[in-house]
């Protein structure tokens, strides 16, 4: 468990290198999400997206990315919303330890 000081008031990590799978569980718990293997599959894709494209995805490219990697059944907004309610791209990125979005998209 990271101390509360490791997070900003919105619950984002201050230092991205602090991220570990345990930290992801901790951030998810703060969002009332219990991480299942289905969540992890998406979180790993988000981290891979960031590695490859040096940016966090908006919703539309995230759906397409998931569809490319996991097939059309999972590459749908409704599926991602069921795992990460509200805004899957933003919430998923937060739990996956990606940079805090600048609210631009």
């Amino acid at each position: 468990m990271l101390p509360i000081s490791a997070f900003d008031p919105e619950g984002f990590l201050r230092e991205l290198q602090d991220w570990t799978p345990e930290v992801a569980e901790q951030i998810a718990a703060g969002e009332n999400i219990h991480l299942t293997p289905a969540h992890w599959e998406i979180l790993e894709l988000l981290r891979a997206y960031y590695q490859r494209f040096d940016s966090s995805p908006a919703m539309r490219p995230l759906v397409k990315w998931v569809a490319q990697q996991l097939g059309p059944d999972k590459g749908r907004s409704i599926y991602l919303l069921s795992l990460f309610p509200g805004s899957p791209a933003k919430l998923g990125s937060k739990i996956a330890g990606l940079p805090k979005p600048d609210n631009c998209l």
Binding site: D8, P9, E10, D102, N103, C104, L105
Partner: protein, 131 residues
């Protein structure tokens, strides 16, 4: 025929006078009976909204000119949020969100996403850029 205009300002207010040219263009188009819903400030253009900018008394202040235009014509002045944050332009919400001492944006301006530029492009008959 009256047209809907949107303006995109990329020029910093204190380098050259492109920002003042853009304000004069805005006033001229309104005088010709056209409408101007929104001016979107992007990149160095977002510096236009810096509340603390001081212009010598014998020169026109881009900040004041834009603020007056907005007040007289209800024109929205939007600063691209990601460009603005990088340059230290924050409203009170973003100051809290990023734990900074206080707001630095003039109240005539609002922070917003690039979606507002995209939306303006969809509705506007003319989109004119000032770089």
């Amino acid at each position: 025929m009256a047209l809907d205009y949107a303006l995109l300002v990329l020029a910093a207010p204190a380098s050259g006078h492109s920002s003042l040219t853009a304000v004069r263009f805005a006033r001229a188009l309104l005088a010709r009976g056209h409408s101007l819903q929104r001016v979107f400030f992007l990149d160095n253009g977002t510096l236009t909204g810096l509340a603390a900018a001081v212009t010598p008394q014998d020169e026109h202040s881009p900040l004041q000119q834009w603020a007056q235009l907005a007040e007289e014509h209800q024109t929205e002045l939007i600063l691209c949020i990601s460009s603005a944050l990088k340059r230290g332009l924050l409203d009170s919400t973003e100051a809290t969100r990023h734990e900074r001492p206080g707001a630095t944006v003039h109240p005539a301006f609002e922070l917003g996403g690039l979606g507002l530029l995209v939306e303006a492009a969809q509705t506007a008959d003319r989109l004119v850029t000032f770089g």
